[in-house]
């Protein structure tokens, strides 16, 4: 039952399964109904499941997340769509002060099985606020879990796993990979899929460790291909879970390679690379032959589309960092 699907279509299938499997699952957001979302991730779902299951909401993100909290208290499992990364901030108060804290506040009495889907990242030639990578703002927040997918198979399984999880989960979707294709086993039940909060070795190699997630996994894999031609064997780890981080495979890799490079689109300063570098150093202090290097977006607002390629980490910058690590 394996099919070739774009990442976006895989999400669509995953959402459909989730709606089928549990009548309490509801999808809500701007334009998710008739239009099927601006990226068509919810395409056809309102038609098939009705307006009570796939809800076009007023244009207000705090309202989307705040009413999702109430729906969750009522026993629903809301899946909120935020239209673009840069538009999640009106909902930030509800997310960090309510969604993240209600389980703690209520001494475990209130579960909020809410998933907040956010298409994120750049590379699509968009105007301001449509290309950001705000994952660190959420990963720093206790009470939230944060995940992201890098390929169609993960997209299909992870969205279902996130929805069945009782934890509140921020689900980052690599928007520029929506159109990339991959094999998906549509018969795979979420509980049988690779665990949601585990990272995965995406490519084995013994010379250096590349750590990436979401849209940058492809860049890391391409860099590894290129390096292989030069005789360097890079291991690539796809983090998948951004909070909690699953770094054991990373430590194992770094103990083997002695070289680590983290890649992400978000600004470097206090980006996930910082935490990963700090932890690798703590865990693998005597294995490291160079400090953990970071290849990230720069510490500037996301730039205009015509220069975004300069901003985004690419194959060359990754390989340059690998070189620097070896030359340390």
């Amino acid at each position: 039952m394996s099919e070739t699907l774009t990442l976006g279509k895989a999400l669509n299938h995953g959402l459909r399964r989730a709606l089928e499997n549990d009548p309490k699952v509801v999808i809500m957001g701007e334009d998710v109904g008739k239009l099927g979302g601006v990226f068509r991730i919810t395409d056809g779902l309102q038609k098939d499941f009705g307006e009570n299951r796939v809800i076009d909401t007023p244009l207000a993100e705090a309202g989307i997340v705040g009413t999702a909290v109430g729906l969750a208290i009522r026993g629903y499992r809301p899946v909120c769509e935020i239209q673009f990364d840069g538009f999640v901030f009106p909902a930030y108060n509800q997310i960090v002060a309510q969604v993240a804290k209600m389980y703690y506040r209520s001494l475990g009495n209130v579960r909020l099985p809410i998933v907040i889907r956010i298409p994120y990242g750049g590379g699509i030639g968009a105007v301001e606020h449509h290309s950001e990578s705000p994952e660190a703002y959420f990963s720093h927040t206790p009470g939230l879990k944060v995940v992201t997918c890098s390929n169609s198979a993960d997209a299909y399984s992870m969205i279902q796993q996130a929805i069945t999880s009782d934890d509140p989960i921020i689900f980052f979707e690599p928007k520029r990979r929506y159109w990339e294709k991959g094999e998906v086993d549509l018969s795979l039940a979420p509980q049988d899929a690779y665990p949601l909060h585990s990272s995965r070795v995406a490519r084995e190699g013994g010379d250096a460790t590349l750590i990436a997630y979401g849209p940058m996994v492809r860049v890391a894999l391409d860099a590894a291909e290129a390096a292989a031609e030069d005789g360097r064997n890079l291991e690539v780890i796809d983090l998948r879970s951004l909070s909690p981080l699953d770094l054991d495979p990373v430590y194992a890799s770094v103990r083997k390679t002695g070289h680590a490079v983290v890649v992400h689109e978000a600004p470097g300063n206090l980006g996930l690379g910082a935490e990963i570098a700090a932890r690798i150093t703590e865990e693998c202090f005597y294995s490291l032959e160079a400090p953990v290097l970071r290849v990230t977006g720069y510490d500037v607002p996301y730039p205009a589309a015509r220069v975004e390629e300069e901003y985004l980490p690419d194959l060359d910058r990754v390989l340059d960092a690998v070189d620097r690590s070896f030359g340390w």
Partner: protein, 379 residues
């Protein structure tokens, strides 16, 4: 008089309000608003007396809490003094199946829901953040971030509709409490948008106690707050918030409208915060004594006592007994507060995630080891 122009009682603010019991304790049989809605109540003698008992009890418990705070037994206390009628009336107006979303001040509503008054004291003593099960009590945890609970209530109410639990007298309704200050928050106005669009079974119950900490009402609005609802397409009604009967009648009617599928209502309970904002506040810095004095004359309890007395519904024995019973409850509350155990240090790692987290687990273990090492050491 709601939304209308005529006034009821010399004490009504411009624009009027629904009042069924004057400050002097005179019953107004019924009030018909400019929109033609008639509000009235019919209670048995016993029910009247029970309402009085509620009012006295919640005030007495509140006073005990204030005392406990002064004695260092609570970290902070948000007193409801002066707002008993708004809370008791609206709380008693709820039916069993209804759900409430309080702020941090709704101790009176909580009490009328039949909940043990000790429940929120964990929060104010600092032993927890107010940890109870909202669905068990049909009463959400206290919300401190101003206004956020109005959206939760609206979402819950959407769920009620989706569950098919509106459209008849057995339907469920939802009430969200908030203050005058909260009406300025974007989230509260989004709740109005949502409730209007989804025709949610909601009552927005705003206790306008004239202040948001130090800021008087004029800092939030230049027109009466109940009129906000008109901007969102549902009715707004102002009541005399110090009149428990008006609070009961109008809330009951609004909740019943909601459960019948007729959508949301905003109620503005025009009242006054007689004490400080919280025990941390010093109201003498921003308001004058004469203002407080003038509100004393509108006290919700004395007017009700006057009414009961005049109508010979109760005598001094009864009043004495109610005071005595309230005192007993308050002392009981005090004992319970003093007996509250401090949380275990390690409990700070509990209830972060339903499914747990390796990061938190590792920190819990590290903490336990560190504590153990410490206890083993000279310290």
């Amino acid at each position: 008089m709601a939304n209308g122009e005529s006034e009821v009682g010399a004490d009504a603010p411009a624009g009027g309000f629904v009042q069924l019991l004057t400050p002097e304790g005179e019953r107004v049989d019924s009030v018909t608003t400019a929109e033609g809605v008639t509000y009235s109540v019919s209670f048995t003698d016993e029910e009247y007396r029970e309402l009085y008992r509620d009012l006295v009890t919640v005030r007495r418990l509140d006073a005990e809490a204030t005392a406990l705070q002064r004695q260092g037994e609570l970290g902070i206390w948000a007193s409801l003094l002066g707002q008993e009628a708004a809370q008791v009336g609206s709380g008693r107006a709820m039916r069993k199946q209804d759900m409430a979303f309080p702020t941090y001040r709704e101790h009176g509503v909580l009490y009328t829901r039949g909940i043990d008054p000790i429940m929120p004291f964990g929060l104010f003593r600092g032993v927890d953040q107010g940890g109870w099960d909202p669905n068990e009590y049909k009463f959400n945890t206290y919300t401190i971030v101003i206004g956020s609970q109005t959206l939760h209530a609206t979402g819950y109410a959407m769920g009620v509709t989706m569950d098919g639990r509106t459209g008849g007298p057995d339907g469920e309704a939802v009430i969200a409490y908030f203050g005058d200050g909260a009406t300025s928050q974007g989230e509260v106005n989004e709740a109005f948008v949502w409730a209007g669009v989804f025709n949610s079974p909601m009552v927005f119950f705003c206790q306008n106690n004239q202040y948001a900490i130090s800021e008087p009402l004029e800092r939030q609005t230049r027109i009466p707050l109940y009129r906000r609802a008109a901007g969102f397409g549902f009715p707004g009604v102002r009541i005399d918030g110090n009149d428990v009967l008006a609070s009961y009648a109008v809330t009951r009617s609004a909740l019943d409208n909601a459960r019948n599928g007729n959508g949301p209502t905003l109620i503005e309970a025009y009242t006054y915060r007689m004490g400080a904002h919280t025990s941390s506040d010093d109201p003498t810095r921003y308001r004058i004594a004469s203002e407080v004095e003038s509100w004393k004359a509108k006290d919700p309890i004395s007017r009700f006592k006057a009414f009961l007395t005049k109508q010979q519904l109760a005598d001094d024995d009864f009043f004495g007994q109610v005071d005595e019973d309230a005192r007993t409850l308050a002392l009981n509350l005090r004992e319970q507060v003093l007996a509250m155990p401090d949380p275990q240090p390690i409990s700070i790692f509990d209830n972060v995630y339903p499914n747990g987290s390796p990061l938190v687990d590792a920190q819990r273990k590290q903490f336990a080891d560190y504590q153990a090492a410490f206890e083993g050491s000279a310290h």
